[in-house]
Point group: C2
Chain length 217, copies 2
């Protein structure tokens, strides 16, 4: 059987049923990171929200961003971050992927997602926001900027990384982290979770020089 | 053996050797998408660049972004996109991950990455920029906006999706795409590539209702 290529043009795309289009377009960008964002209100109410849009923005200074909609289920998270300027980002692993997904339910503001889904808050000196005890790579972030994307009013929330907490088995001699060994998962579309299997690490690419596999595993 | 948690604070982070810090901080955001961006100059010179920062920004309108540095290896890509307002995004799969990585070498502006790495340009009516023939999920994008992130002068390049080309075997009845079946890969850190294995799809989360697995595979 020969595979066929489907072509969907912009007119067809804009006339698709709302939920169908959401599934389709969310699949186009490829695999996404799976992270839990921990935060706390000025009154001390903790909040935990899964986010698949965390993105590396720079190493020096160490900056990380994520996309938020003003009226999304992450509304408490966003309010907390703006109020306290502090949050944590916790990689989701294959032991907690279902609990992580459950944090996307629209709990009431006064309900704590940690309790509701069965994850454990953990605190670190000097960091106001809660970490997820079950996450094996996590870091505290200080809010630096909230940029509004005028085209659709989504927000790019940017913070600087202040404290990294990391399972030592995964840190390699060159500074890279073997997040596969931490069983970190990735997401595709709106609701599909995946574990990974390494194809390989590749050397820094140069013109007219063949790539080599970095064999440190 | 008990795993130890390493703590790295902001002072330690900023004093790390440049390359070590780049590896470390690039590992923190989690798994990243692997995409090739195809573009063409006003003079007709094609360009192809791997990007691990493509991110979903919205489904209606369908918007996609990626992060670029003004002086990165993607400099020809950025010039082309600004000159022509048209580019393509092509998911990298396990048949072409090494060729895809090789596009990150600093080729001269007049050298075509398609030829240099052994990938095939493919054209579609109405789309100026080249697609990658070997990619099984790809789409044309019209430039909408280039936002400068003031904190580190990186750019968020935002475009609207105009034409989707997709292997039909991967499109599910609800609009989601089984990108794992297309052998799409993901990236961790600066240079590690991974294939995936599905843990499951999960139902839309609601408070006080258990999640169910969506069993359509």
């Amino acid at each position: 059987m020969v595979n066929q290529t489907i072509h969907i043009d912009q007119n067809q795309l804009s006339s698709l049923e709302h939920r169908y289009r959401a599934h389709l377009v969310n699949s186009l960008s490829g695999f996404k990171s799976a992270n839990l964002i921990g935060s706390v209100s000025e009154l001390g109410q903790t909040n935990l929200a899964i986010v698949s849009s965390v993105i590396h923005l720079g190493a020096d200074p160490a900056l990380v961003g994520f996309i938020s909609r003003p009226h999304s289920v992450a509304r408490d998270t966003l309010s907390n971050i703006i109020a306290t300027s502090c949050y944590t980002i916790n990689q989701v692993n294959s032991d907690i992927w279902q609990q992580a997904h459950q944090t996307s339910a629209r709990y009431e503001t006064d309900q704590c997602e940690f309790d509701a889904v069965g994850l454990t808050p953990a605190y670190h000196e000097g960091v106001l926001a809660p970490f997820v005890a079950q996450s094996r790579l996590k870091y505290a972030v200080k809010l630096e900027s909230v940029e509004t994307i005028a085209l659709n009013q989504t927000l790019l929330v940017i913070g600087s990384i202040t404290d990294i907490l990391l399972d030592d088995m995964a840190l390699k001699s060159d500074g890279s982290v073997d997040i596969e060994r931490l069983n970190s998962v990735c997401v595709s579309g709106l609701d599909s979770y995946h574990r990974t299997e390494r194809l390989g690490r590749l050397s820094y690419a140069k013109p007219d020089k063949p790539l080599t596999l970095i064999d440190d595993y």
